[in-house]
């Protein structure tokens, strides 16, 4: 069996599962957040229940609406707080201790290798970075899991991406994600599949990069993305994991519907053109294109490592006068660490605005939404029309390194040709 099949078998009380099978599994943690959380608790009440299956394993986070930009959202947040408090939820990451839910789930150790965690936001795939099955579900599924500690799944077919070669300077996991997006297209090949990443280039990848890679598998249409736990995972989880876990990996004779090889040596900085995620080009094709807004943050690229690479590029430089740059750390923990390491100082000195950890403009709700005619260079995860606000804005997606180098020049710039 593959790692995902093994996890689904283990948590549904079976020795074996096969792709296509429908199973009910135990859930390690259920995440819900301000935007849909109230609806989730309402569904729970409709089941005739007033308590969750385990107060310490239902994780509540305020991330989409904080700090509230309108009175309506402020009221929504108040209702959300009230319902979370009424259920005496142990882990409530509200404004002041908040972060983007997926970042919180992993960094605070609520996701463990070999288990299944679900959340009411599509990028729950991020949890695969530590070798868990991370899966996005709607409020009804979340309510059922909050009631019973269980969810139903169709066991997915497994597809492997074997990543070899050496990472080139200034090339990030985001570039590989976008490269795979361009390679596979958004046309149905990977819908409902589990994507497993392995190989020497994955073994070398830090946890931040693994989170980026697994995060964007949902945008490939996949059910989940997963990287088997290893020494990097063990070190990362040491002092974080809320619970015991053990190593787990795919069997040597596991069946994959397809295996794709990618030599990361050949992957350079990569850009998705506005409107369609799979309209992907190597950076050379778009160098010199002008833009007026730069955005780095989100559950895809708001981590310390992302801020670090930008600080390296922006050290002693000034952001171009025609570019407004907003940077949003993925959590308060990330914010504090970047502050202590001096990255935020470097970024502010370069002329970037740092905003409160939240989903920010990525969901088009607040903190620097796009207006008519804006051209945004973003390190986020989606670029469909209207995603960040106006339908008359264009969004290019790329890595934090590309955004930082480009912000200085005011035009899309290859960080490999940039004088750091």
């Amino acid at each position: 069996m593959t790692i995902t099949e093994k996890i689904m078998a283990r948590h549904s009380g079976r020795d074996k599962v096969v792709p296509g099978q429908l199973v009910w599994t135990n859930i390690h943690t259920v995440m819900t957040m301000d935007y849909l959380g109230k609806q989730t608790f309402t569904q729970l009440h409709k089941l005739g229940l007033s308590t969750v299956f385990d107060k310490a394993r239902v994780i509540c986070v305020s991330d989409h609406l904080v700090p509230p930009p309108t009175p309506a959202f402020a009221t929504m947040l108040n209702e959300w707080r009230e319902v979370v408090k009424a259920h005496d939820i142990t882990h409530f990451y509200d404004l002041g201790r908040q972060g983007i839910a997926h970042q919180i789930m992993v960094e605070q150790g609520h996701v463990l290798p070999g288990t299944i965690s679900i959340g009411t936001d599509s990028h729950a795939n991020t949890y695969g970075a530590v070798g868990a099955v991370g899966n996005a579900i709607g409020v009804t599924d979340a309510a059922v899991a909050m009631a019973t500690g269980k969810a139903w799944f169709r066991v997915p077919e497994s597809v492997k991406f074997h990543i070899t070669g050496k990472w080139q300077p200034w090339v990030m996991a985001k570039d590989l994600s976008l490269h795979i997006m361009g390679m596979m297209h958004w046309n149905g090949h990977l819908i409902y599949k589990t994507l497993e990443f392995d190989g020497p280039a994955i073994a070398e990848l830090d946890m931040a990069g693994r989170m980026t890679l697994c995060n964007m598998t949902v945008d490939l249409g996949a059910k989940n993305g997963i990287i088997a736990p290893d020494e990097v995972t063990r070190q990362y989880l040491s002092g974080r994991a809320k619970g015991d876990w053990e190593m787990i990996a795919s069997d040597p004779d596991a069946h994959y519907e397809a295996v794709y090889e990618v030599d990361v040596t050949k992957v350079g900085p990569t850009v998705a053109l506005p409107d369609k995620l799979d309209d992907v080009v190597p950076i050379e094709k778009v160098v010199g294109r002008k833009f007026n807004k730069a955005f780095v943050g989100t559950c895809t690229n708001g981590r310390v490592e992302d801020l670090e690479i930008m600080a390296k590029i922006l050290q002693g430089k000034q952001i171009h006068r025609d570019v407004n740059m907003i940077i949003v750390p993925a959590s308060q923990t990330v914010y504090l660490e970047a502050l202590k390491k001096g990255y935020l100082q470097t970024l502010v000195e370069a002329g970037a605005a740092i905003d409160t950890p939240s989903c920010a403009a990525c969901a088009g709700i607040h903190t620097g939404v796009a207006g008519d005619g804006d051209i945004v260079l973003s390190a986020g995860n989606r670029n469909m029309k209207g995603r960040m606000g106006s339908k008359n804005a264009q969004i290019y997606l790329t890595s934090p390194a590309v955004v930082a180098a480009s912000a200085v020049r005011g035009e899309i710039t290859d960080p490999r040709t940039f004088d750091v």
Binding site: V23, A147, R387
Partner: protein
Amino acid sequence: MTTIKGNCWVASDYVMAYDIIVQQYWTSPVDPTENSKWVMAGVHEAFNRENGFKDQGYTFIVAAHNFAGGGKSIEHVITGLMGAGIQAVFADSFARLQFRNAINYGLPFITCKGIAEHCRTGDELEWQVESGEIHNLTNGKVFQSIPVAPFVSEVAAAGGLMPFIKQKIADGSIHQLS
């Protein structure tokens, strides 16, 4: 044998959840009547008015790849379509979040390869539920879809996942789910 007959609306590839329910309604209560008023508002200009899609009176949607994609988990997409009278969606492939939601609410999302190429908006279709055969009564073509799995039928028969679970809690069989 159960058969459902009615006319269809044919969508293109990549009809996104974002356009089926546009952003201003994402935080509305999940309610078929309410959600159906503005369902499909972002998909086609003609549907961008109150009951614009619902008033067309379609029974089925026929689509190609990745129906209801874009990665939104909002359930309004499904309840909106149900409230508008849609009884099944036939497509090459579905986005997984909405595929789950559809099962949970009892709206059949039926995988049927290539059907969109042989149907036009307004064609009358007859769906034979158990066998999965779909007959296009307008042009005489017949398609074999993947029949509905037993679990899906059970949930649909209970009226959706919520009543299904409620029943299991009531009769004490909830812990036997595996």
